[in-house]
Symmetry: C2
Subunit: 189 residues, 2 copies
């Protein structure tokens, strides 16, 4: 009963998780074979470390969620809501670029409740700031909070797609996102 795995095994597990993250971020339906190839590893090796495609996805998602949660938790949400929003958007944009469609893969491969729990956890990083901004009059509150949260996600996702298709430059995306969201959260007149 070895307590720790061999060095090459650990390295391969890392490679697989990284490759799976990258692949799933692009296409939530990638085959295990492709992930293995991208990781520079035999398909059988992958199955030696992960019981099934589902468990691999689950673990990859778990890691991504953890890192995302840490990254968002490190953002300073105090002070002017608009400035805080900008900081939060910038951090979220980086995560969106990194993980892209991974969320879709998660939705398809995980039990619905588990996914819901994770998703809610991430959304809750946004909620307090949005609520504060609304009550302080920085953001419009003539629309449901839930809709505004959905909108945030949607715009980030849209930007990710636009960059992927080459419609906009990755460098200018952050500015566009911020400019768009800030405007969308401003009531007319």
């Amino acid at each position: 009963m070895t307590a720790v795995k061999r060095a090459d095994a650990r390295k391969n597990i890392e490679s697989i998780m990284d490759a799976a993250t990258a692949c799933l971020a692009r296409d939530p339906d990638v085959s295990v074979a492709e992930i293995a190839k991208a990781a520079g590893v035999g398909r059988v090796t992958l199955y030696g470390h992960f019981e099934s495609r589902a468990t691999l996805v689950t673990q990859v998602v778990a890691r991504a969620i953890q890192q995302s949660d840490e990254a968002l938790g490190a953002v300073d949400l105090d002070g002017d809501p608009r400035a805080a929003l900008r900081r939060l958007l910038e951090a979220s944009w980086k995560l969106t670029q990194q993980y892209g469609a991974l969320i879709v893969a998660a939705e398809q491969s995980m039990p619905h409740e588990q996914f819901q729990a994770i998703h809610v956890g991430l959304i809750d990083r946004w909620k307090p700031l949005m609520e504060r901004g609304r009550s302080e009059g920085s953001f419009r509150d003539d629309q449901p909070l839930q809709w505004q949260l959905t909108l945030l996600q949607s715009v980030l996702h849209a930007a990710s797609g636009a960059v992927y298709r080459g419609e906009i430059d990755a460098a200018e995306a952050a500015g566009l996102i911020d400019g768009t969201i800030q405007a969308a959260l401003t009531a007319p007149e």
Copy 2:
């Protein structure tokens, strides 16, 4: 060589197209079996009328595109750009609800160029109004037009998802979409 098909055959073809539209709008990956069941028809019958899944999707998409194009073409785009935008958004929202994820199915089942042609055709319904609104000062022009077009689609899609998940009411969606887009197209200050 019968010139016209029998009445029940025509009726079944209709049922299949309708069912396929509804199913594909919800899930771009529905199986042929499910579509047939939804149409109240045997799977074999479906294959009697459509060579393959791909041709079925293509025909369904073609019909949807044609109806969409007609609906959008009927919208009055003259006068105040803001008012015209509201009319165009309302029409587009109806189409989005009807066809939902059908566009995704099209992307997966059709040759890329053909899809591109169709997509560009639909986008072009928006472009002139957006360009006019920008040059007349009604809409902000400090962001790429392409990004604003992407944003429009994204918001419509987001609303569709939100309604599906029960987050917002279908009745209020149109107002939210318009309120959001109008604000997003307004430059701050």
